[in-house]
Symmetry: C2
């Protein structure tokens, strides 16, 4: 079983180390990850500049390939150039911080997995819900278990699995739920500050406002101490509106 | 009618100038756009660094606000801090280059409009299908017409419209079609090159391979000289797989 591992926190992150250690028990692992932190880059890819690939060592031992690009870049170049054969699965993570609800849109971790799905390779994104996460053991073991199930059962083309776990020891996690992207939005605040030269600058902060209080919503289930598995796709067509628009009479000419 | 205009090619792009000129005829326009080109940044947002906002002038006349961030950043800070009232509509573009099929995922232009939709503001993204596009007149007029229709008719919360036009004079455009995100994928190639110091670097190129040959597919319709309007949403849950996963028995414990 050939496994490509990437992330968005960068190749030196504690989360990716935990994932690599566990997935090496079930397959042949190649790591291709961003050289530097790439959180909230969404599905950015690098076209205007070239990419560099550097071998990355931990305690003198080869760990993987560091790419000076985005998570999606890493998966693309990992599959196209670095690996000899197409991997059986791509696993992205373990991210420090949840990627649930509307945050799926902004997530580099999820985009790495989504890039794999676009390339017809089954994929999982894994996150632990704290920026100071320390509980990676169960998350890594669950990732390995799920990766095996995905390769066994297969996933529909264009689908990936987005996994979130509470930052808790295994015995405090209530269970695993199959969930949906919870409805939510950010109540953004741009903090206005003044730099040492008297000029204004703005820093994004804010609160995620959830509006979906069922255990089928990823964000709510996660807050209630469940691990969540949300199937994600990238067919963005809104089919309901597609039918409605036909009555807007936008056609300039008949076909 | 209050209109916020943004893009991903940057505030000095010819495409945004054409859009601003036309939309000023139908409303009160505020421009908040990236200071520099931000193509293919996807739905990236800036959290690790602060943003700067600079007044941008064209021939000594105030044109709009330049932000040293991404398209999604511009829409967020435009709505939250720069505009006094929430706009009636956000229009993103006019992009030089199509944003159809799988490219919707990578597009900064579409992400600006999507950020507006996330914030409950109706939005349109507009692109002309050539990186050297010159035919903006009809695209700008069509954007104004569509913006009026959107404000009149409303759009379902969470939906935005993604418009693509061929780079042709109006009389050569066959008509306007309501379309879906065409199925396609990139056949990526990383060109391997050597820098002046003898080190390797990789540059992303490739071809878009479409697999959807109907006039309901945005990319195919566009190639056949139609303007296309594709309704887009951001509920990424794959509901079909959601049901299937329930039979994978992932639950660690019963609830």
């Amino acid at each position: 079983m050939k496994i490509l591992i990437s992330n968005d926190d960068g190749i030196s992150s504690t989360g990716i180390a935990a994932l690599v250690k566990e997935l090496k028990k079930i397959g042949d692992v190649t790591v291709v990850a961003p050289a530097t932190e790439q959180s909230a880059v969404g599905h950015a890819i690098t076209m205007k500049y070239p990419l560099r690939v550097t071998e990355y060592f931990v305690n003198g031992e080869f760990f993987g390939y560091a790419v000076d690009g985005t998570p999606a870049d890493c998966v693309k170049i990992g599959i196209r150039n670095i690996m000899k054969d197409t991997p059986d699965i791509v696993v992205s993570g373990i991210n420090l911080g949840s990627n649930a609800a509307i945050n799926i849109i902004y997530s580099g971790t999820v985009s790495a997995a989504r890039e794999a799905a676009i390339m017809d390779v089954p994929a999982i994104a894994v996150s632990v819900a704290s920026h100071d996460a320390t509980h990676f053991d169960y998350a890594a073991r669950f990732s390995a278990e799920l990766a095996l199930k995905v390769v066994q059962n297969g996933l529909q083309t264009g689908t990936l699995l987005n996994v979130n776990l509470p930052d808790l020891p295994e015995n405090e996690i209530k269970g695993v739920l199959i969930t949906q992207q919870g409805k939510s939005k950010w109540d953004d605040i741009y903090e206005e500050r003044i730099d040492p030269y008297g000029k204004k600058y703005y820093w994004l902060t804010g609160n995620l406002v959830e509006t979906d209080y069922s255990l089928e919503a990823d964000y709510f289930a996660l807050k209630n101490k469940y691990a969540t598995v949300t199937p994600i796709h990238f067919d963005l067509t809104d089919y309901k509106t597609f039918e409605i628009l036909k009555n807007w009479y936008l056609e300039k000419k008949k076909i």
